[in-house]
């Protein structure tokens, strides 16, 4: 039993090293949203880590009419692409950011994008 547990610990350590040496590109979308194709952008304060980014992306993508979201940790913004023909209000975007536990800032829409 003890040998088995030590083996499990070692496997854990190897997995950890493997994780450290592999970039993370997994997610809902294989191709991240191109900023030029975003329909809206929400400025967000307090996003301090990649998992914070994933929280907000998950919650954004649950909003009806949002097709894809991408977090830009460097600029502190979330880029959003709408489903075809969808209209998303500023309030819906702000509430999604707050539900993820962050402070929303200015919302801007791409000219010609749905809202």
């Amino acid at each position: 039993m003890k040998t088995l547990l030590i083996a499990a610990l070692l496997l854990f350590a190897i997995t950890l090293i493997g994780c450290a040496s592999t970039g993370s590109t997994t997610g809902t979308w294989l191709v991240p949203l191109d900023p030029a194709e975003a329909d809206a952008q929400v400025m967000v304060k307090g996003m301090s880590c990649p998992q914070c980014a994933n929280n907000i992306k998950d919650i954004m993508e649950r909003v009806d009419g949002i097709d894809q979201a991408r977090v830009d940790l460097g600029a502190g913004r979330v880029l959003v692409a709408f489903a075809e023909g969808a209209t998303i209000s500023e309030d819906e975007l702000l509430i999604a950011v707050e539900d993820a536990g962050f402070t929303p800032g200015e919302v801007s829409y791409r000219e010609g994008g749905g809202r």
Partner: protein, 278 residues
């Protein structure tokens, strides 16, 4: 209770690992929350080495713990959490035919409420939470205190650029337990935890739109007091690698000040943690 072990394994196996406990070091709970409607799962494996002297003589043992922490964001600020620890103990001394045991430690259920949040920049934030809950008996032989023990706590998390500071305090009222236990907080006296942590992002230096992973070094000071006079201070350095869909961490725990008469002394501990999102 015989159902405790299979139930814990069943829950652990079925629970889909999802978005986890962001930027939280191993032994100092943070004031972060998973977000409204989000499940979070964290699994740690720890190895601990203990020595002690009971009424029937001196002993030493190795302990493996497989702990699953589950959190659910009821609202953005209110989180329901539970910790389920599976344990295996192997007595190196004295060696008897019954030196190995496997069971479930007491599990807890708690609410965490974030009462303060000040996001002052893209990254910078200060958050504080209050916690309250109860430790429930698993009734697992040799592992359970067989008592219902309420507790309250407070946590603070501050992130400024590449630096992160955490603090945590917890008071647990013990209503049962034996006169001599292996672990901190399992005995008849009340238990007090004071934790402080520092975390430094070593990579990347600056976040960009393409950032999907961060690596941190971390160090913690963990104070443990019991109302019977026992106390210890532990130093816990470690590394945390956090990506969008997974995180991995490793830390050692070393006693730097120990005055323990009513339970076993911790020699050292090693913990690995893994979290995944699918």
């Amino acid at each position: 209770m015989k159902w405790a072990v299979p139930l814990t394994i069943f829950i652990t196996a079925l629970m889909p690992p999802m978005t986890a406990f962001a930027q939280e070091v191993l032994y100092t709970p943070s004031a972060t929350s998973p977000g409204k409607g989000i499940f979070a799962l964290r699994q740690n494996v720890s190895f601990e080495s203990f020595d002690g002297v009971r009424a029937d003589g001196a002993f030493s043992l190795d302990q493996f713990t497989y702990e699953t922490a589950i959190a659910y964001g009821i609202t953005a600020d209110l989180t329901l959490m539970s910790h389920l620890p599976l344990m295996y103990r192997d007595y190196a001394e004295p060696v008897t035919s019954n030196s190995e045991s496997f069971g479930v430690d007491d599990l807890d259920v708690m609410l965490k409420y974030r009462f303060f949040q000040k996001d002052v920049g893209n990254i910078d934030t200060v958050r504080m939470s209050l916690m309250g809950g109860i430790e429930l008996p698993s009734y697992s032989d040799q592992f359970s205190s067989e008592s219902f023990d309420p507790f309250i706590g407070w946590a603070m998390t501050m992130i400024e650029g590449r630096h992160g500071i955490g603090a945590h305090a917890k008071y647990k009222w013990n209503t049962g337990g034996g006169p001599y236990e292996i672990e901190f907080g399992d005995g008849q006296s009340d238990a007090i935890r004071l934790d402080g942590s520092y975390l430094y992002r070593i990579d990347p230096i600056e976040y960009t739109i393409d950032t999907t992973k961060s690596t941190y070094i971390m160090v913690e000071l963990n104070q443990r007091y019991e109302t019977n006079g026992d106390y210890e201070t532990l130093l816990s350095p470690g590394i945390l690698i956090e990506a969008q869909t997974w995180a991995a961490e490793i830390a050692v725990r070393l006693p730097i000040n120990q005055q323990v008469d009513h339970r076993a002394e911790l020699d050292w501990a090693l913990t690995f943690g893994l979290r995944f999102t699918f």
